[in-house]
Each structure stands twice: as C-alpha cells, then as structure tokens.
Symmetry: C2
Subunit: 216 residues, 2 copies
DNA sequence: TGCGTGTGATCTGTGATATTTTATACCATG
DNA sequence: CATGGTATAAAATATCACAGATCACACGCA
C-alpha cells in the first residue's frame, strides 16, 4: 500500500479520470483478489479529494470490480471458482454476440489494426501482456457499435482482471500462447468465416481461464 | 415533476435505500424515456441530501438506466430500436444461463412460490402488472445463486423498465397475455424438462419485446 | 408588428470540506 | 485470561462554494 500503483490524473472531469485510472489499473492486474482499498488512500494517490474517487468507486462496485464489505471497507473480490465459472460462461455468451455484430461491420483497416496489435513487441519481462490482449479483444468488439452488451463485457473483464493479477504473479508467460487464437480469429475475419471466427474466439476465452480453472 | 413518483426512504444506509427506491421506480416504469432528472429534486423527494442520491445515481448510470448528457444533466435514455434489439439478445443469452443454473437447484417450495406470484390478483386498472412479471422472473433466477450474471440481468431489466413506461401508457393490458408463458415455464419446471423450460422462457422474452419491436 | 439577440435569473452538476456515525483495535480492569 | 470501555480511524452524510448551462423575457432593429 505504500507505493502508488496508479498514475496521477489532472484536474478536469475528475470523476471520469479517476475511473479511467482505476479501470486501467484493474486491466493491468494491479489489484489482487482479497486486497482491501481505502477511499482516502486512492484519493491521495490520484491527487484529488475523496468525492470524485467515491463516485468512481461506486461505478466499480456496480460493475463488480470491487465489493462493499459488512464493515464498510472496500475489497477486491476474493478468488472464487464459482464466480470464475460464471465469468467464463457469461463471456462466452456475450462476446459471441459482439463478434457476430462486429463481423457485420468490420473493414480492412480494422483487421490491419488488429494485426498490428498482436505483432507489437511482447514485453521482455516474460509476463503475459494483459494490455495487448485487452486491446485486441476490445478493438474487435468496438466494431459492433454496441451500447448495451459492450459495457456488460467491460464489466466482466474488470472482474476478470483481478484474477489475472494472480496469474501474472504465479505463472511464467511462455505457457500462455494467447496469440495463436488471435491469429486464427484474424484469418477468419479476412475470410469472413463466421463459424471459424466464433470457434476460435471460444477457444481463446477457454484458454484464458485454463490457468484459473484447471479442472475444466 | 410536481408530484413525487417515488416513496420517501428512512434514515439508515441512505445510499442503498436511495438506490432501492429508484430501482423500484424503474421496474415500475415510473420514468419515461427521454425524461431528465435532477439530483436535487430526487434528494428532496427521498428526504435526504444530495450525496447519497448522487452515489445511487452513479450506480444507475453504470447500469445504463440513466445517462449523462453532454450538458451534464441526467436523462433516462431515449427510445432506440438498436438498443432494444441488443437488450433482447442479451436477455435471451443470459437469462438462458440463469435458468439452466436455477434448474439445478430449484425445489418444490420455490415452484409453489412462483405459482402464487402469477396467481395473485391482477391489478384492476387493466395495466400490465410489471412488478408481478419482475417478481416471477427474479424469484426464478435467484435460485441460480448467481453473483455475476444475475447483476448483469438486473441491469438489463433496469434499462428495459424505462421502455415499459411507454407500453404502460399506450397499450391496453389485455393484449399482453404474459401469464401464458409463465404457466408453461412452471409446468416445465415441475417436469424438470429443460428444453421446454428454455423454449418457454425464450418465447416469454420475445413476447415482452413484441410491443416495442413490432417488426421482429 | 415580427423576429432575432442579449442578458440575467435560476437551474444544473462538481468538487471540497466539515460533521456524524460506525467499526475496530487497544488497554485497563475484574 | 476474559471482558468492557475508550480512543482512533475510516466511511457516510450533509453542507457549502463554484462553474456552467438553460430558459424566459425584454429590448432593439427591420
């Protein structure tokens, strides 16, 4: 708790900035399941007062990335196999819908953009590049122009992010060949092969839970 | 705006109470699409200060029941066919998952409870009983013990609630025979017939969008 | 007379801060 | 060693100050 994990923000649209900073921190796996956070600490780290942080945190609670404890402190939801299974089936169901819509509208430029994302240099540290994975999926999903389902999927990834924190800490990177399914998806997008794209996306989602739900 | 549409709340856990009151108001169809709401007005009606209302409203925005406008006022999202279609496909996908889980755990008492809900006296006014419909579905879904998907579905219903406001105003009740599919679902639950239950639920969801998306 | 424009009053949300309530940890006392 | 009370720290709420948007209305010009 001593050294800040999240960047400072500047002084306009404070609530949004605070939310963005925390959102980014979650997708980066900066928070560990079970960890507790305090409004004052966050406010100090972000360089604002409590008010904007409180509203940002309220949104994160609504999205399931944080939970209120009976003692009125906030905590990152602890690791829980049932929740993880739900997360997986919800992601499979909703991201399939987004992919379907996205494939109605996607164009060459976006596909090129996706290729650029996955071909970007991997981080040398050997840890899986969570941001790269996030960018790949959401660049694709945003093509759906969805205003209902896309926010739900964002919320799911936010919950998933805390779990990834553990993966990052405990696993070597080489064991997660995430780019394989990403390449399959891109190929299917080029061929406009819906079945194949759906299959590869499902495999990619399954993959990302393998380390967390080994029994499946 | 002169006469309050929402009940006052009592003085503990104000934020939760405020949220509950607003949530209830939405499922009751108390707010119309496009309507704007003000923090101060809501706070006055609820008998609290702005702070708890602000946090409750933040949650509703996160859930999509309210949106921030560029001019920083709050409004109930206007009617929009695309959003409605998304709402429908998301409901079909997620509520199927909840039903599946619920059928693993449901017992006789709950089924009896469901029968009691739909056999309760319809309101005499001739308007469709939104609360009864809500209670039927969520009594069922809560059996799933879901902590991830259930909140997502709550959010979907919250968005749907504003649209229902229009239905309530413009349509006679007799045209919506919602109890028919509910009875089919109960019968399927008794037989533990998953296929049939899923089919009836899907039909029920389709039905509830019929008036809003006539072309489908 | 009719239409556009400007101006001010009155809304709005935002952010900060003071006050109250509640939980928890610690220490004294039995 | 257990128990109870107190001190402390945190969150919850209320209140305040401020900036910006909207709306109505009056004024000036055609």
């Amino acid at each position: 708790m001593s050294q800040p994990k999240i960047a400072r923000i500047d002084q306009s649209k404070l609530r949004e900035s605070a939310y963005d900073a925390l959102h980014e921190a979650f997708t980066r796996g900066a928070f560990a399941p079970g960890e507790t956070v305090s409004l004052r600490t966050l406010a100090d780290q972000l360089g604002t007062s409590m008010t904007p942080v409180r509203e940002a945190v309220r949104r994160l609670v609504a999205e399931g990335a944080l939970v209120d404890t009976p003692s009125r402190t906030l905590e990152v939801p602890p690791l829980d196999a049932d929740r993880m299974r739900e997360l997986k089936s919800a992601r499979l169901a909703l991201e399939a819908l987004l992919l379907e819509e996205a494939m109605d509208r996607i164009d060459k430029d976006v596909i090129t953009g996706l290729e650029k994302i996955i071909s970007a240099p991997r981080s040398e540290t050997g840890t899986p590049d969570l941001k790269q994975n996030y960018d790949f999926h959401f660049t694709l999903y945003r093509q759906s122009r969805s205003r209902v389902i896309l926010p739900l999927v964002e919320a799911l990834w936010l919950q998933y992010g805390a779990f990834l924190n553990l993966v990052v800490r405990e696993q070597a990177a080489g064991e997660i060949p995430e780019h394989i399914h990403h390449e399959e998806i891109i190929a299917a997008l080029r061929d406009n092969d819906r079945k194949s794209a759906q299959r590869s996306l499902a495999l990619d989602i399954e993959r990302s839970f393998k380390l967390l739900l080994p029994e499946s």
